[in-house]
Symmetry: C2
Subunit: 473 residues, 2 copies
């Protein structure tokens, strides 16, 4: 990118919102995904829709690429800069514009931190359920780009279930408005839900309308230990079969338990093969009844120890410990590759076995945890990117895991997105006609392929050179 073009960009966003020193570019050369890294040509912080529109129009003219990003907590490389790109950072767009207590909606800018929004709406007795692991730092815009999940997916669904509307600057610079405050809307194609999970490849989200729900009155958090991994998996199936829908049903294996215990020292059982952290919530006495039913199911499935959190504070400690799983595992070795293979719930016991098998066969260390109620596991490889041989084995282990996932009718990504990290698996996972259709839609909307190109799939091979599977090493 020549200095003449850089000056044009600087003129659009203003000198205070433009950065291209090596130090600045380095800060935006990576996201939460290990190993992937690439320097952008520049980093910009646009101030309004008009600036974004002008940048997009310029990118079409001058054929440079735009990589939009929020907090950069993504785990599939969706916010990694590509060749000849500028990073467009939306973190300063962090205002909650409205909480509408009559229609139970919130209007927010994309840079609002998810956890802050949750606290804000709780002041009104309302509830924004999606709670990705990174909720204290990640932004709503990124949540929408990736259709983020979280711990409460089983009962409450994922981000897309709470998006009522978006405003987005399209690849031609026009502003698209989707949705509205209507609870039902079938006017034309469902563009709103299509934008959710499109990983920043269809435009830049500038405003979001979210659906809120009444905050459940009470919740009970339970913790159960298991000597045998298989018993924890059977317990999960038992709860699903009982037709109780917990608001949380989290699984942690022995490696994860020990890493969390090293990190938090809250007294988790270092010798247990697995623990389950289960929460039920709702209104009235049924919450207590559900908890008792679940405890009986756990006992029938040989839990070695089960108890209810004594109070809200203890419940929060347990949930915070679970949320720290990624950070805790990340302290063990220099490189932490966290994935999100997801299978039909009935296949969870098989899948847990397959992760153990992968670790054994390829001689690598895996921590395994995840949203058991959803069949959404986070097999996490603790490795070191400087060790070529080990990294190669780690990748082979993941290849094995994803192939097994697909055989079980599962998906390569439950909540992290495809990005760069899993694009080479996409065809196998969803089939050639699906990828072909995705490419056609992308080309129809972004004919010059300038908005976050090379993510999810490749239209042109130019981004491939930088991020083939091999280059992840």
């Amino acid at each position: 990118m020549n200095s003449f073009l850089k000056d044009k960009i600087k003129k659009i966003v203003g000198i205070d919102n433009y950065f291209d020193s090596l130090e600045d570019k380095l800060c935006y050369s990576y996201d939460g995904t290990p190993i992937f890294q690439h320097l952008p040509e520049a980093v910009v912080f646009p101030e309004n829709e008009e600036q974004i529109s002008l940048i997009v129009k310029l990118a079409n003219q001058e054929k440079f690429n735009i990589v939009p990003r929020g907090a950069g907590t993504g785990l599939s490389g969706g916010a990694i800069p590509v060749e000849n790109s500028i990073v467009l950072v939306m973190t300063k767009w962090n205002n909650i514009l409205e909480v509408d207590t009559q229609n139970l909606t919130a209007t927010v800018q994309p840079g609002v931190v998810t956890g802050i929004l949750q606290k804000e709406v709780e002041k009104y007795g309302l509830f924004y359920p999606p709670d990705p692991g990174s909720l204290t730092v990640c932004t709503i815009g990124g949540n929408i780009a990736n259709n983020a999940g979280g711990l409460r997916g089983l009962k409450y669904g994922v981000t897309k279930n709470y998006v009522l509307g978006t405003e987005i600057i399209l690849p031609d610079g026009e502003l698209l408005r989707t949705g509205g405050k209507n609870m039902k809307d079938v006017a034309g194609y469902n563009l709103r839900d299509f934008i959710v999970g499109s990983e920043g490849t269809l435009g830049i989200i500038t405003k979001i309308l979210l659906r809120l729900i009444p905050k459940p009155q009470q919740s009970i958090t339970m913790l159960a230990y298991f000597d045998k991994l298989a018993d924890s998996a059977k317990s999960v199936s038992g709860v699903i079969a009982s037709h109780i829908v917990p608001s949380m049903m989290e699984f942690l294996d022995n490696t994860t338990i020990n890493c969390i215990e090293d990190y938090t020292n809250i007294g988790l059982p270092r010798n247990s093969e697995a623990i389950l952290l289960i929460e039920v919530d709702g209104w009235g006495s049924i919450v207590e009844e559900d908890a008792e039913t679940i405890i009986n199911i756990l006992k029938k499935n040989n839990t070695s120890f089960v108890r209810k959190a004594a109070n809200d504070e203890e419940a929060l400690t347990l949930k915070t410990a679970r949320r720290s799983a990624f950070s805790a595992l990340a302290r063990r070795r220099p490189t932490t590759i966290l994935e999100d293979a997801t299978v039909p719930r009935s296949e969870l016991p098989v899948m847990i076995e397959k992760v153990t098998e992968a670790a054994r066969n390829f001689n690598v260390t895996f921590g395994n945890f995840g949203h058991a109620g959803d069949g959404n596991l986070h097999p996490t490889c603790l490795t070191d990117e400087r060790d070529n041989d080990e990294i190669t084995r780690a990748h082979k282990a993941f290849d094995f895991i994803f192939n097994e996932t697909i055989k079980l009718g599962g998906t390569i990504t439950g909540e992290h997105g495809t990005g760069l990290a899993k694009k080479h698996f996409l065809e196998k996972a969803v089939g050639i006609p699906a990828v072909e259709m995705m490419k056609r839609i992308k080309s129809a909307i972004d004919p010059n392929n300038i908005i976050n190109p090379g993510k999810i799939f490749s239209i042109s091979p130019r981004c491939e050179e930088y991020f083939s599977v091999g280059n992840r090493r």
Copy 2:
């Protein structure tokens, strides 16, 4: 369409599945939408995916159009034949292929009747919530094509919330598989949800995987009468503000009450300006508590009479009466135009007023009823298509209603779809960039524009001649 081409089609589906007598074509020349009608060239009942694929490929070669349909209960003209088209009828694809009690899913063919599916899964203690008014006759395939709603939308959402996967023959004859039994899946673009609500314009759905939920243990149905329309609207807002989410909150105005009473004779109050039919459901004592809270809200808002259904049988009678609203209204005059203007919930009282105003200003009769909890009204014009002057006034009244809806931040269709009936309102409702994007996607997927062309929007003007607004008259 010449006889040489017709013979080719006949050869693909077999002589027993091909019809082109005038009587047969007449039967498939209309759907549930009044006034629209057009003769197809032929009607076919394909037996398997291969036949559908061959027909689609032939249509691309020979440039004829395919209009897929199920039971034809649609209310926006989505299944009306277009110029040079064959109707492809899927009603014989009516098998429930699997009920998976471990993963809580059902795999069905598109021709399964919604109500039959519901009864079947209830045998397993499971629940398929979407319940369009036509559920005893409409098919799941059509529900998905239109993202059908129903009476339980407020608490349980609409069809799209229960679609886990689809198989669909694309406009190029390839089979696309979307989704699967995973509760979470973000691999690539969300094609699955994009197919839902695409009104048969992106391909022919051949298989569907549905999400089921545990059936609520109990429900309480309440009926409340109001002397003043405004008090019923205030009651609805009051219930929403109380943070109780009823499984049903239906509104009926005086005209609708009288038509239903003429038809059913169950003792509805002929002099009330409005009634509300409210149901709460769930588990445990909270259901009873919620019902009491709601009754207090109704009393505070001047209900003249309120009671709980004494038993399940009475509750069913009341709900069946509500479900008969359309049929009951349809007995009053020869032509019944039922629409589904939907507004943010807080605007419901204004919208109810606007329908009254439309009836008065344009001197036409409206019955008004609908899903009050969703802000989804069904203003229904009782008219006579043979009376040109009255029909013109009716259309002007609807123009007024939709313009007011849009001004209130509402949508032109909450659950019926855009089809032919509302395509001329689409640009005003969703904006030019949105319609432009829809057209680009349609063209990318169906370059010859052969699958249900001219529905939702027009790519080429040729379908316009048949179905301009004027021609609805």
